[in-house]
């Protein structure tokens, strides 16, 4: 259990004792007995005709047969329902004015010590809106930054008293984008900063302890309140609340929590249903904004094209999300925080109840769940002796939208919302005026008639229109106004034999109205008596969505297990092994348990023990490998600093990228997903297998060695755009940045090693800090991390090999390396691989000498060469890219295929498992209907680890399934009647371009394709 600093102890005493009196003393009587009410003591438990005694802000007694204390004033609450006050899970403090201090963390996005409540100001109007839906306390959270600061649980009374402080520490994956020069400006960087800061917090805490104990042995550390707070939160197991905007953010949050042993909370996105299996493993507490998307505008077929299938489905699915999350065993709270119109809160509660969440659970989400999660389960959330007297009083079941919140109690003090008794006026009345009787009919305005829910609300709130009938004729009521128990309207026409406009004014008492009529000169009295009461019509109940979920959600997502036979035998095929066996015709190949078992002229297996594929006229190759990709990642470049070795592509893998699926359709099975080329030392790459339909982390090629991306030339010196003036701006500077980084890494390792060897120092002196950036760089020097370097010109290629040799390691690959052909002997001598484009040139000055013979010429000089894509489209036709090595320079087709199979495998040091069809390697293969490098051949099937991830037939089925689903969803949306007031849905059918990403930045990557 976490420890919260409680602030709530006999409020009355504290307030009475500390505050000076301004005028004369005020001492409200603070003992009340609420009697004859329906009291919902806690979810699932209620007492009819019960009494509740409130004393000094707390609940003293509750029950059926309670004697009203002598000093208590009795309030008869006949007909009322009383609930424990509701807790809003998220009240953001806007415009916080955190004062700058020299003690602040160096990165202004880290402000963990900031307490949001310090700047809490709520406009009266907003406060009233919260009160009117029964919110009595709110979780007050900060707005800005990555480590945003701390939250309080605050009672929304005049004093805004905190029941608990430091409830959570808030984290947001806040990316400001490329234009921001401040680090970090990408999701990659944000996650790295979070990880580094959490490490720093531990280190700082440990260091402070040592300094305190051994002041003589240590240099004092500067004060860092942010790190102190974080350490405090961590060691006390207080929750870290991550803001999430989509399900991947949830996964990332939970991964960080797991790594640093944090207690995770999430601000839900509403998309959790898409990756619930993974989320539930970590069982976070989730606060859900109670808001659902508006109907997508699909009325125009061409605007409909702008909506992706997963968006259309999300409209249908969003209100089911909470139910699904709850069923997965996750507890949650709710917030009205994102709603502009707070009245939608109750409407949306109705929605989730319709979709299957019980009223008890909903009540719990407003009371006991958040109270428990915040460690306030003995203070808030229930109506029990000793609990704080926060109450919601309604005139009916709160979860019936027709009932009204009439008052709330905040720490024992009542706040009026609306009158307790309200007559539903709709219906027919007989009006008696001077012995004439007319019929008055009050109805819900016709504009609400279509929407039954809206209709009910109008009915309950007396939002009406009406008419008076005289015989067969009728006169419409004008300016009908109903306030509390008063009614006013005007009638123009002949009534009372006067042809004039008459103003009616009356007072309502149950089924009677008594009042006066004024015609400008005279008053008349009138009486009205109800004759017909309008029956409440049944509401349209929403149903749970019947849509099937896919993984990943959206077009081509999987809806069933992939084909994974124990064994696969391809019979009588032409096999391009890319291994020592070369090309063999009319051979067999057997795959067992995800591995290649045998490649031989004739393999026989017992009947039924293997899936047998007739390979006649078919070709089999290893799965293709792309040594330079930017697909399947949500963020590519952290460009705010010249050295960002700490950022990792693995943190931002994006398994929903449809390019994974498309590339499988081109026979690609493995990709090296690289950081961009914005800086000399970029981030850590991730080698993945294209396991479509898996969780992001399961994309990782587990055995692949770790790596990192460096970059040289125009991009890193910001030559082709208005850069931020960052060092370096020349190739000379680039070289120095890299040397400097490696020297720093050496110093860093030395520092750690010295400390680790000195047991005496370990006891008394501050340990060296773990630095994720230098750690990664040191790993390069130790040969544990492969270096892949974006490069174009021969000088820079030469230069980097020399640096590597000076520091005693080897460059794994030069990427692009378009002038590699000029220094092939250097590449060969150094032993670096070259991963190049087939025939790209011309786009920038440093590629002026690019030639399509580059690959061939390097290969002929014994350089290990691969062709890469750097482009989502090229990546699905790597085979025809390879053919360009035949066209330009005359390599054999067999050798050319190596450029996209075994050679990149060797470059990535994964050739032990993939890259060729040899016994013992992974069952990653492609079946083609023709010669593998021919543009006229097509992929029939693509397999990874013995699982079939793509096939022509399946592809057709998925296409048809998605087309049908899309039509059904659009039909459902078109036929859906109720008006919605949620968040407008922004169409996003366009897929990101991933087009020569090295040259692009994060913003462009996330943006839409150019739809000019």
């Amino acid at each position: 259990m976490q420890k919260f600093p409680f602030l709530f102890i006999l409020i009355s005493v504290i307030i009475a004792q500390t505050e000076p009196v301004e005028d004369i003393h005020t001492n409200d009587p603070r003992v009340w007995a609420l009697t004859h009410a329906m009291i919902h003591t806690e979810p699932g438990d209620s007492i009819k005709d019960a009494t509740l005694v409130v004393r000094d802000g707390k609940i003293e007694k509750v029950g059926r047969y309670i004697k009203v204390p002598l000093d208590a004033y009795e309030l008869d609450m006949e007909g009322a329902h009383i609930y424990a006050g509701f807790i809003d899970g998220w009240l953001e403090v806007k415009k916080d004015e955190k004062t700058k201090s020299p003690d602040d963390h160096w990165n202004e996005k880290i402000r963990a010590d900031y307490r949001a409540k310090d700047d809490l100001k709520i406009k009266k109007k907003d406060l009233k809106a919260l009160h009117s839906i029964g919110i009595t306390a709110a979780h007050v959270v900060p707005e800005k930054g990555i480590f945003k600061g701390k939250s309080d649980l605050v009672v929304l009374n005049d004093e805004m008293i905190s029941v608990a402080k430091d409830v959570t520490e808030l984290i947001e994956f806040k990316t400001t984008g490329w234009s921001d020069n401040g680090y970090p400006n990408s999701l990659l960087g944000v996650i790295a900063v979070i990880r580094q800061t959490l490490l720093d917090a531990d280190w700082y805490q440990r260091s402070l302890e040592l300094i305190k104990k051994y002041p003589e042995e240590n240099e004092p550390l500067p004060l860092n309140p942010s790190l102190m707070e974080l350490a405090d939160f961590k060691s006390n197991r207080r929750p870290f609340l991550f803001m999430t905007k989509e399900e991947h953010a949830a996964l990332r949050s939970l991964k960080i929590s797991e790594e640093f042993n944090l207690r995770p909370w999430l601000l839900g996105s509403g998309y959790e249903y898409r990756r619930l299996d993974k989320i539930k493993e970590h069982n976070p507490f989730i606060i859900f904004p109670l808001e659902f998307p508006n109907k997508p505008k699909v009325g125009d077929p061409y605007i409909a094209l702008q909506f992706s299938n997963e968006q259309l489905k999300h409209w249908d699915m969003a209100p089911d999300n909470i139910k699904r999350v709850f069923d997965a065993g996750i507890r949650f709270g709710l917030t009205s925080g994102t709603l502009k119109n707070k009245l939608d809160f109750r409407k949306n509660l109705q929605k989730i109840i319709d979709r299957g969440i019980s009223q008890d659970v909903t009540l719990a989400a407003l009371t006991t769940y958040p109270a428990e999660a915040m460690g306030l389960d003995q203070v808030l959330g229930k109506i029990q002796p000793g609990f704080m007297a926060n109450l919601v009083v309604t005139d009916g079941n709160y979860f019936d939208p027709r009932s009204r919140v009439t008052s709330i109690w905040l720490a024992g003090k009542e706040k009026y919302i609306t009158e307790r008794h309200k007559t539903v006026l709709a219906g027919k009345w007989d009006i008696e005026i001077q012995n004439n009787t007319y019929e008055l009919e009050l109805t819900v305005p016709s504009i609400y008639k279509k929407d039954k829910n809206r209709n009910q609300i109008a009915l309950a709130n007396n939002q009406l229109e009406g008419k008076v009938s005289i015989g067969d004729e009728f006169l419409n009521l004008m300016d009908l106004k109903i306030y509390g128990n008063r009614i006013e309207f005007k009638v123009k026409g002949t009534l009372l034999d006067i042809d004039a406009t008459l103003a009616f004014k009356g007072e309502i008492k149950k089924d009677k109205i008594i009042g006066t009529i004024y015609d400008g000169s005279k008053d008349y009295a009138f009486k009205a008596k109800r004759t017909v009461v309008v029956e409440r019509i049944a509401r349209d109940k929403e149903m749970m969505s019947e849509s099937k979920l896919f993984l990943p959600e959206g077009a081509y997502g999987l809806d069933k297990e992939l084909l994974t036979p124990n064994a696969v035998l391809i019979d009588n095929a032409t096999i391009w092994t890319c291994g020592p066996k070369g090309i063999v015709e009319e051979w067999d190949i057997l795959f067992v348990n995800g591995k290649i078992d045998k490649v031989a002229p004739d393999i026989s297996v017992p009947m039924g023990s293997a899936l047998v594929i007739d390979g006649t006229d078919k070709y089999v190759t290893p799965g293709l490998i792309d040594c330079h990709s930017h697909s399947a990642a949500s963020s590519i470049n952290e460009g705010a600093q010249a050295v960002t070795a700490e950022v990792r592509i693995r943190d931002v893998l994006f398994a929903d990228d449809v390019n994974i699926y498309r590339q499988l359709g081109g026979g690609l099975t493995t990709a090296n997903v690289l950081h961009g080329s914005a800086n000399p030392i970029g981030g850590q790459n991730a080698v993945i297998k294209l396991r479509w339909g898996s969780e992001p982390e399961d994309l990782l090629f587990k055995n692949a060695p770790q790596g990192i991306k460096f970059a040289l030339g125009e991009n890193v010196k910001q030559a082709n755009w208005q850069g931020n003036g960052r060092y370096p701006q020349t190739r000379m500077g680039v070289e120095q940045v890299i040397r400097d980084a490696f020297r720093a890494a050496q110093d860093y390792r030395h520092r750690h090693k010295t400390y680790d060897r000195n047991s005496k120092a370990q006891k008394k002196t501050v340990p060296p800090r773990i630095d994720l950036e230098l750690e990664a760089l040191a790993e390069i020097l130790e040969g544990k991390r492969l270096l892949h370097c974006h490069s174009y010109r021969q000088d820079e290629i030469w230069m980097l090999t020399r640096i590597a040799e000076d520091f005693g390691f080897k460059i794994a690959t030069f990427q692009h390396v378009l002038e590699g052909y000029k220094v092939a002997e250097r590449l060969a001598e150094h032993g670096a691989g070259a991963s190049t484009f087939s025939d790209w040139w011309q786009y920038k000055y440093e590629v002026i000498d690019a030639i399509p013979y580059n690959g061939t010429l390097m290969a002929k000089n014994n350089v290990l060469v691969s062709f890469n894509s750097d482009d989502a489209e090229l990546a699905r036709r790597m085979n025809t890219e390879a053919m360009k090595a035949v066209k330009y320079g005359g390599l054999s087709e067999e050798e050319a295929l190596h450029f996209v199979t075994i050679n990149p495998a060797k470059q990535l040091k994964i050739d032990k498992w993939v890259g060729s069809l040899e016994e013992g390697k992974d069952a990653d293969f492609v079946i083609w209907d023709g010669a593998p490098l021919s543009i006229y051949s097509k992929v029939l099937e693509t397999w990874i680890d013995g699982t079939r991830y793509w096939s022509v037939d399946e592809n057709v089925q998925l296409e048809e399934r998605d087309k049908l689903e899309r039509e059904e969803l659009i039909q459902k949306i078109l036929s859906h009647r109720s008006s919605s007031s949620g968040k407008a849905m922004r169409p996003n059918s366009a897929t990101p371009r991933h087009f020569h990403n090295c040259e692009l930045n994060d913003l462009e990557l996330m943006g839409l394709e150019d739809f000019e």
Binding site: G554, V658, G665, E714, W841, Y853, G1007, F1011, E1012
Partner: protein
């Protein structure tokens, strides 16, 4: 008669900058080649005689006159020069270097600017492009609402005037953006975005009306001296397109843009060609019914929307062909594609792989392109009377490894070397000297 030995075919004439071809002085007979006429059948072991830059005769056996040079090309293929329908060749050297770019004039309305006057005949892109058989390109200006006039250029010549095959090829218009964009224009609601679009179209309409009025006033017979219409280069430059209905190339990829442009042309009674056309598979009928051709920009591209069939761009040419749309295939210029025009045959081959016949694919980068650009009287097929603009290759034209071994533009033999081959040779020499290479 002079028999030219085949040996000369592969030799590189000049080791440095490529020198334009010399005017054809003697008739040349290509004997026994496989002729891909495009307009007709593939003729095997046929002779082709050309003189003074034109194809004279195609026949099974041609008796040459004594002054004829004869190339025996049995087993080799003669193919009309590929035609790229929409490029920036000559207008850019290095896309990222502003100083080398001449395709985007400032301002929105530039109907008067002419591509060919800025065409740099010494651009390194030219020899590289023609090395793959692309011998004619349409060079087009690109930015703003009315970027200017494009020109059909022969990839050979000392000056831009030499190189111009047709000018103007077309007036270019970039159709206004119709995507309701909730990201970039988040502050504008749907209606504001549509209003903005309507406003942009109204501006185009007004421009057209002003051209009509300008022309009307200029050509009115009786007028006083003081009533003389003073010059407006913009309006004047549009007269051929608005009054005489020369083709207007409208860049439009989104289906809404395509439909809107077609309807606009119909209402305004103008001749348009859709450039881009990536959504044209959604409603090809409108193109057929209105007789609007399409210059497709790119076959080997990713689908525009996640839920589209993943190979839809590959199948697009076949779909258009089946629907009866007149189209040609080109590439989408712009960073980093400006120098990629040489991959034009790859785009056509990909279309074959996904349903288009080889004949139609070849046509889509030769005769169809020539027709759409209005130069089919001169190029695009092997027919007597047309320019001798073709290349000779060892293998079929739509083969991935095909490299032209000889090429002619209007009978002038081209130097098929280029900067890239030169560098290749240079560095092969380096490795020979280092003893690392012996070829």
């Amino acid at each position: 008669m002079r028999y030219i030995p085949l040996l000369l075919f592969t030799s590189i004439l000049f080791p440095n900058d490529q020198i334009p071809g010399t005017e054809q002085k003697r008739p040349i007979l290509l004997r026994g080649g496989t002729l891909h006429t495009v307009s007709g059948d593939v003729l095997e072991e046929y002779d082709l005689l050309f003189a003074e830059g034109r194809i004279i005769t195609i026949d099974e056996q041609i008796q040459p006159s004594p002054e004829t040079d004869i190339y025996e090309i049995y087993g080799k293929h003669v193919v009309p020069g590929f035609v790229a329908g929409y490029t920036r060749i000559g207008l850019t050297e290095i896309s990222a270097v502003k100083q080398t770019n001449d395709h985007s004039e400032i301002g929105d309305i530039n109907p008067n600017v002419r591509a060919n006057v800025a065409y740099n005949p010494d651009s390194d892109l030219i020899p590289v492009t023609r090395s793959n058989g692309v011998l004619v390109v349409n060079s087009a200006p690109s930015s703003g609402r009315v970027p200017g006039q494009s020109s059909v250029m022969k990839l050979d010549g000392w000056t831009w005037e030499d190189a111009t095959l047709k000018h103007p090829a077309a007036l270019n218009i970039n159709w206004p953006y119709m995507y309701i964009d909730y990201e970039k224009n988040r502050k504008k609601n749907d209606k504001a975005q549509r209003d903005e679009y309507d406003h942009q179209v109204r501006e185009i309409d007004q421009l057209v009306r002003n051209v009509r009025a300008y022309h009307h006033r200029k050509s009115a017979k009786e007028r006083k001296a003081e009533h003389k219409q003073e010059t407006d280069l913009r309006l004047e430059s549009m007269i051929p397109f608005v009054i005489y209905k020369d083709p207007i190339h409208v860049k439009a990829n989104d289906i809404r843009q395509i439909e809107a442009a077609v309807k606009w042309a119909d209402e305004q009674d103008l001749n348009i060609v859709i450039v881009g056309g990536r959504d044209s598979w959604i409603n090809p009928k409108i193109l057929v019914e209105n007789n609007v051709p399409v210059i497709l920009l790119g076959v080997q591209v990713t689908p525009r929307r996640r839920f589209e069939p993943i190979h839809i761009p590959y199948k697009l040419p076949a779909l258009l062909h089946e629907a009866g749309v007149h189209f040609c295939i080109s590439l989408d210029p712009g960073y980093p594609m400006d120098g990629h025009v040489r991959t034009l045959p790859d785009e056509a081959m990909r279309a074959v792989s996904w349903g288009l016949s080889k004949d139609h694919a070849l046509r889509s980068i030769t005769l169809s392109a020539a027709e759409i650009l209005g130069v089919d009287d001169k190029i695009g097929s092997l027919e007597p009377g047309k320019d001798a603009t073709f290349f000779i290759a060892e293998s079929e034209p739509l083969t991935q490894t095909t490299n032209p071994i000889k090429a002619f533009i209007q009978g002038r033999e081209l130097d098929l070397s280029d900067r890239q081959k030169d560098l290749w040779e240079k560095y092969k020499e380096k490795y020979r000297r280092l003893g690392r290479l012996n070829e």
